[in-house]
Symmetry: D2
Subunit: 346 residues, 4 copies
């Protein structure tokens, strides 16, 4: 059995993680921390999960936690994990950070987009970007895994095969994404109130969203040279789900066959990728699953491919991928504890 700890256990990603870990047959949860609910039990904050897990919630002490846990999951606002993780902690246990601090390999890119210094840039060299389908080999040996962002997971998985196979113009990438509201977290903000979100659709972070450099880092790697992407997130009045609608100009001679082959080859045998071809994904198709569903259409009129990727932002976009990373790192069945398909029609 693996002993796991979760710091930031009562946010939406954190609590989803607790739920998944509680049902994981190879895991025992040994430590839960929640700054805002210290002293309560987990089931008091999430009554629907009380039967799965009802551990006490502690004030976070990553030092102590690292002494008793084999793996520590950090689900904290950006800028906090990088203050806490040290070489000593990493020597003792695997750290899977669901935040943004260790995702960008170049600390200057971090400083530019997050407009603050990076307090532990010396650790970036050993951090592995935990997008499982792209970095499985490195994840197996990593002590520090940077779990990708939600928008980034859907965007990179949807576009990587097209760049890896050099089928599209790398200067033409536009990613138009829309997310359910759990992506905004459980913090008390007017903008997240029901009456502000319900019956509304809006864009935000246009040209400035911090998931942009993550997407660029990984797609540049696929492309073999630096590229920039246009990324625009939107907010949808629903709890869960992200759909990324991605546009790219086709290179001369590229058609539907080449696109289909690229996806088939790139994702051959992947348990959590569902290729749908021209039968397009919807967010409900992957709700409560760790699956990324990908579809595409070639538009000969415009010589573009429109590729769409759907995930559950709290599962494949956060907690589920974190568990997948743990499974890979500890040599478990990669699908352990992760439903391939959810048992509900709606």
């Amino acid at each position: 059995m693996i002993t796991a700890g979760v710091i930031g256990a009562t946010g939406y990603a954190g609590s989803q993680l607790v739920a998944l870990l509680s049902a994981h047959r190879h895991v025992t949860i040994g430590y839960l921390a929640s700054h805002s609910h210290v002293g309560k039990h987990f089931g008091e904050v999430y009554p629907s999960l009380a039967l799965l897990c009802n551990l006490p919630l502690q004030e976070e002490d990553i030092e102590a936690a690292s002494q008793i846990c084999d793996v520590l999951f950090l689900a904290l606002p950006h800028g906090m994990a990088s203050h806490k993780v040290t070489e000593e902690i990493l020597a003792r246990c695997v750290v899977i950070d669901l935040g943004a601090d260790f995702r960008l390999s170049d600390y200057r890119v971090y400083q530019s987009w997050y407009q603050s210094d990076h307090p532990s840039s010396h650790l970036l060299a050993q951090s592995v970007y935990g997008l499982c389908e792209l970095h499985r080999r490195a994840i197996r040996a990593a002590q520090l895994i940077a779990n990708p962002g939600c928008y980034t997971t859907s965007s990179i998985l949807t576009l990587a095969p097209l760049l890896g196979k050099a089928l599209v113009d790398p200067a033409s990438l536009i990613i138009d994404s829309a997310s359910g509201t759990s992506g905004a977290g459980r913090s008390e903000k007017v903008d997240s109130l029901f009456c502000e979100v319900n019956e509304n659709y809006k864009a935000y972070g246009v040209a400035t969203h911090r998931h942009t450099p993550e997407i660029e880092q990984e797609l540049s790697r696929e492309h073999g040279a630096a590229l920039v992407v246009q990324f625009t997130p939107h907010l949808v009045p629903m709890n869960r789900g992200i759909l990324s609608t991605c546009y790219a100009n086709l290179k001369p001679g590229v058609g539907s066959d080449e696109i289909e082959s690229a996806y088939d080859e790139y994702y051959h045998g992947e348990p959590f990728i569902r290729l749908m071809g021209s039968s397009l994904p919807e967010t409900r198709f992957v709700r409560n699953t760790n699956v990324c569903a990908i579809g595409w259409r070639v538009d000969e009129r415009t010589r573009r491919v429109i590729a769409l990727g759907a995930i559950d932002n709290l599962i494949k976009g956060a907690a589920g991928q974190a568990v997948q990373n743990m499974n890979i790192r500890f040599g478990l069945d990669e699908t352990a504890g992760l439903a391939v398909a959810v048992a509900s029609p709606l």
Copy 2:
């Protein structure tokens, strides 16, 4: 022209009031206060209303406001208005309080349900309960009008004719209400976050909700003796609307005809009451209107009447009724500035 001021202008009820007053042909808004947005203009907080009203938002100063306004609307949390209103202010201008402080004529009832002292119980004698259809005459002469609560408006309007005509057993009254989420206000609470409200239905304040004594006060008056009611509110994942489903045991010999006659007589000529008979009201039928729609069914098996009343909680349940009170008080057409029917099918 009447000069109006609104204190608490950026909450949901307050902003609805600003919107209605801005479009009212007999009103000029002379003063807006918002503790949480001092220094901004109204249109910055509500861009959709900027063309209607874009006055600066001030720190509240009820003394100063009362010098320039003919009528002051207070949209504040309970316990605050009663600290601010004085005889001097009432001598200068009409005060319409959308909060709870002046609704209960007996300060001991207030203290019992609100568990705090009433700081200006000496003003209660001159306060008029502003349920327009029941207290129109007193409202015409009032300097201090206590605008009713949202649940109370729908509940009292639905049950009053049955008690006024002595058709039902006063010991049998059960009111099961459900409200959209704007009723919880615009404050930053986890319970009001989109993801907590969406895809959920719950009861709250069971046996303890503070609208209970208001309902009892008014229905006791209709009945001619003290009665108690069972009142249970629920939260619905929608922005606006309240439906109160009311149950009462029929007195012997009472049937559909007596019920229908009672409603017809009681509400004869009322511009904002829509009697639907057995064609039951839904909250969408009254959205964005000041109408209370009432329907009923007699169940001969159980010898009960089930009467249902629907309102828009922010209009007839708050800001609209406040305007209606102002219209009555200042001798205007009672429907001025209040749409009888909204121009949209959904």
Copy 3:
């Protein structure tokens, strides 16, 4: 392994059943019928479930199905199952009917509420009402199990202990329920369109809803004499969930302790009942689970108990309870294939 068949497999209850059976370790699905999707595969109609089950959908032939299945689930509109089930079919396999045809033991009650003749009233004597917590013993030996309705499940489970222990006045029962929209099924009706349901709350079937006689039948049995109930359903803009808010007058001398003891004793050891006491249930607490969560408050002012029961209408209110009935009937672990708690915070 048990071979199961589902007739009516593509409605909301039917597809939920297919999903649950597909993941059940003791079950193989041998037959799926869907009148409206004959010739397609299940996964074409429900892409999100394609990895769980992708059997072909056949035109229904209950005779043929009964030859290959150990258990047949019928998820059909009322009036259809009673035309199809015969003694011969029941001799060959267990039938669990999710419809209304075999729930009422007195065919005259059926004819009165459904306003049509009962085509197989001779089978009613052997039908067992499949509310598992109340009829477990009879279910073990039944060939024909009438799976209860959704509203009825939440209502009966919430009120049964109070009647069984004679704590409340049986003439005073009022049940005010609200359901998510999946309860209306997947048929193409204007009233079920998104724009008609969204941002609306309404009552329907007031005094005439057909779940009323089911509730009366079972609560009369608990009470030991015939009683009538007042039942009012409402429609909530959400996909899943039912909350029943039940009112009953307390008998003299009955207080919180007696209520609590009644629930504790009645449901001792029940795996799918979660007693919450004064910490009230919400529909999200039981979403995607087979649990009925029950809470209550005693109101000494009115001398009533307000008891609330929440279920997922598609699981405990339909497909989940059907699986629970199968588990009981075939001597399996009663919880097999049924999650006690769902692995998601929202």
Copy 4:
């Protein structure tokens, strides 16, 4: 007074039109037709609008209607209006068609995208494309006005100034739009059921949506040469609203100042255009109004402009613009009967 008729009065666009016309001080409704509700009164189908309009609904007879009406609004599925409109009818009254039949000036483009012959292509020459801000002069003299589609209105209004001023590369236009569900109409389709739409976000009509050639026709006119656009619509779980997120590559030397000037000049004095600059529009900001709100951001990293346009799909995207067209055609105040800002905060 203008006598108006509406054919197709009970769909969402038709009923919105009835509502607006009923409140229009220069209009009397003389004729309402609804194929699916013949014999009922309008208020039976839309109880919330009964006080505004309760005319009987007739079987459509455009000949008879044209004899009594000054203006006829057609709100019919595509392919129907072009069968009914004749030179004779146009000689008698103005026809404003809310459908697609007369929008495309080249009948071959119609045949290509709609895959059917155009039954009255001889009328196309006199049809005026009723996007008011672009074709006001021609509308004043038109007998046949083709009211634009909903997506097209938001898309063209957002991009026209950029093309008219030649600030962007016409080969680079990508329009990613999202609409509330009323855009799918009131017909009984499984895909429009509440449970299918709620908690879901999806794209549809990718590379094939029929609003594409409309957008191309109008933007080509602005550009001065034929261009193609990439247009992708999405479905959002809300009743009303469209947001179009438009991407275009900036020409060398073009920056924020040029963009802002282009919008300011192009829309100078327009009563229904609200330029928000970098303060981006949301669909709720224009709900229940005839306003198109437009905002934009220049991304110097990618050398693109991202321009966003929000409308209420049933008002500026359908019924409101139809009324605006009527106002222009009949020489009325262009804003008559059209609220510039709605009187509600949410």
